[in-house]
Symmetry: C2
Subunit: 314 residues, 2 copies
């Protein structure tokens, strides 16, 4: 076992931070650390929290930390900020607020920004979850602003996904239909003291009736006012209920299988490209190829077929 | 040459639509079509338009269509909506408005949503651009809401990137710094009759002075009121100026090289995974592996190393 894995598994927070950075930057030894963490993992409950900007996700996450800490559980948060390019400021503000938790040794918060991750943000997040899981956190909250495919891929790593909405989000909740119905395990209507809460709730229930064939799980709709600590017990119960559902009927297994299947392909792809770059697409060869692409003498599909055609499987 | 390529290159719009769908869905023959299109391409000017929601991108795109049509150029638009999960409604509204152009045979508009693209949205967009380029469009406008890595990857396909801002975007333009400074070729301050325009302009110029070492291109800042047709001539001049810059000093070549380098890797990865799924990771074998992952008897990194270890290169 890699030293770093050994130390982080034994609970050393500094080693945990170092391991997370090592893995994120793909530095030497990162594969060993991930292998160790995979073998030791599978114990944490991963709860995803997503929803549009302004829905109060960070406050809700902060309150959920409190809820699980109150039960003596160790809690990690992975806060993924995919929108730093345009609205980073506001989300950063939330992050700073949440750092009040930093004095509690049973809480670990890791922020990840969109940019600069080899292999993409979804892979980087999945790896961070693997490390935190091995480090012994009981609950890991993954928070992301839900826009774009990247974020849907990220939130799929969770066992239970909370989609957080607010009254007055827009003229029509239909706008949130695509993509979200299929990933939500629990709907949260936060800021439920605002006008329009009944309408959001009614529209959500209506959307749920459109789900088509009977589902084995119908996402409950929970109303909260996170800032005033209202509705948090109901939310925790809904999350627990979903966890028991996953455990009981094997639906959780199918979900884990899909997750691992995607992960395995991501790993194959990243490692294959690393090998290609190291041994089969030397800078000179690549330069020559790019020149041919630019002059339209060759196209990248034909070149890829030629390169892949040199592979023989044992 | 594939029939569909032949017909779309000769200007048949129905074949163009069919080819775009074929490629997007990865149906039989898509590789042939893309090969044909690559060989015939490289003529279109690709202009990316990005910026936060509400900046007036769609109106600006609509006006730019008018500008280029006025010069007798054929114009295509690829409108990428990465945020359909939450804010699809508003953007869809813009799309419908733009469909007024649908009666002009010199304009072709293609919308792409985030979800359901094998290989990811950036790859899907790049492929669509390749097909539209071969179909003989002189200018292709790629519009996307700029949030997340996906959208940065998409916008990088453009020769010239317009970043559209508006006064009153937020307290501090610093929030837009990350990631955007490096992709903007031209800054547009739209809705320039609003309060705060001087402040946005001043802050942009200040940010530009922070760019560090002298750049070979300093993005100009152009003010527009697209709805009132103001500033569009200046914008067109700025875009042209950038195009001449790319052509003159070879900076354009470096950019195209980077683009092709990324594309080639995306293609290698997609084709490799297709081969793996078809021949080396049978459903039975995958099922067995996933079971081992779930029971933590095996980790996906080790399994990937074993599978890739079976490769011999000729």
């Amino acid at each position: 076992m890699h030293d770093l894995s050994q130390r982080l598994i034994s609970g050393d927070t500094r080693s945990l931070a170092r391991a997370l950075s090592l893995v994120e930057d793909r530095r030497d030894g990162y594969v060993e650390v991930l292998k160790d963490c995979y073998r030791r993992g599978g114990k944490a409950r991963i709860i995803g929290v997503t929803g549009p900007p302004g829905a109060g996700k960070s406050t809700l996450v902060d309150k959920l930390i409190g809820t699980y800490r109150g039960k003596g559980l160790k809690v990690a948060v992975v806060a993924v900020d995919p929108s730093s390019a345009f609205s980073g400021g506001a989300i950063l503000g939330d992050r700073i607020r949440m750092q009040d938790r930093a004095t509690d040794p049973g809480v670990y918060i890791r922020s990840m920004a969109t940019r600069g991750h080899m292999g993409g943000l979804a892979v980087a997040t999945a790896d961070a979850l693997t490390v935190l899981d091995a480090a012994g956190f009981d609950v890991i909250l993954v928070e992301t602003v839900g826009v774009g495919q990247d974020e849907v891929d990220i939130i799929r790593e969770a066992d239970t996904v909370l989609v957080v909405l607010v009254p007055g989000l827009g003229d029509d909740i239909q706008a949130i239909k695509a993509g979200i119905m299929e990933i939500a395990d629990v709907f949260v209507i936060n800021k439920a003291d605002r006008d329009g809460v009944d309408r959001v709730e009614r529209e959500l229930h209506y959307l749920l009736t459109l789900a088509g064939e009977p589902q084995d799980w119908t996402p409950p709709v929970v109303k909260t006012i996170a800032l005033k600590n209202q509705g948090l017990d109901d939310l925790e119960k809904a999350v627990d209920h979903h966890a028991r559902h996953l455990a009981s009927d094997g639906g959780g297994q199918g979900r884990l299988r899909m997750k691992f299947s995607q992960r395995f392909r991501d790993i194959l792809s990243e490692r294959f490209l690393m090998e290609i770059s190291a041994h089969h697409l030397t800078p000179d060869r690549e330069e020559e190829l790019l020149g041919r692409f630019l002059r339209r003498e060759e196209d990248p599909y034909t070149a890829a077929e030629e390169l892949l055609g040199r592979i023989r499987w044992e």
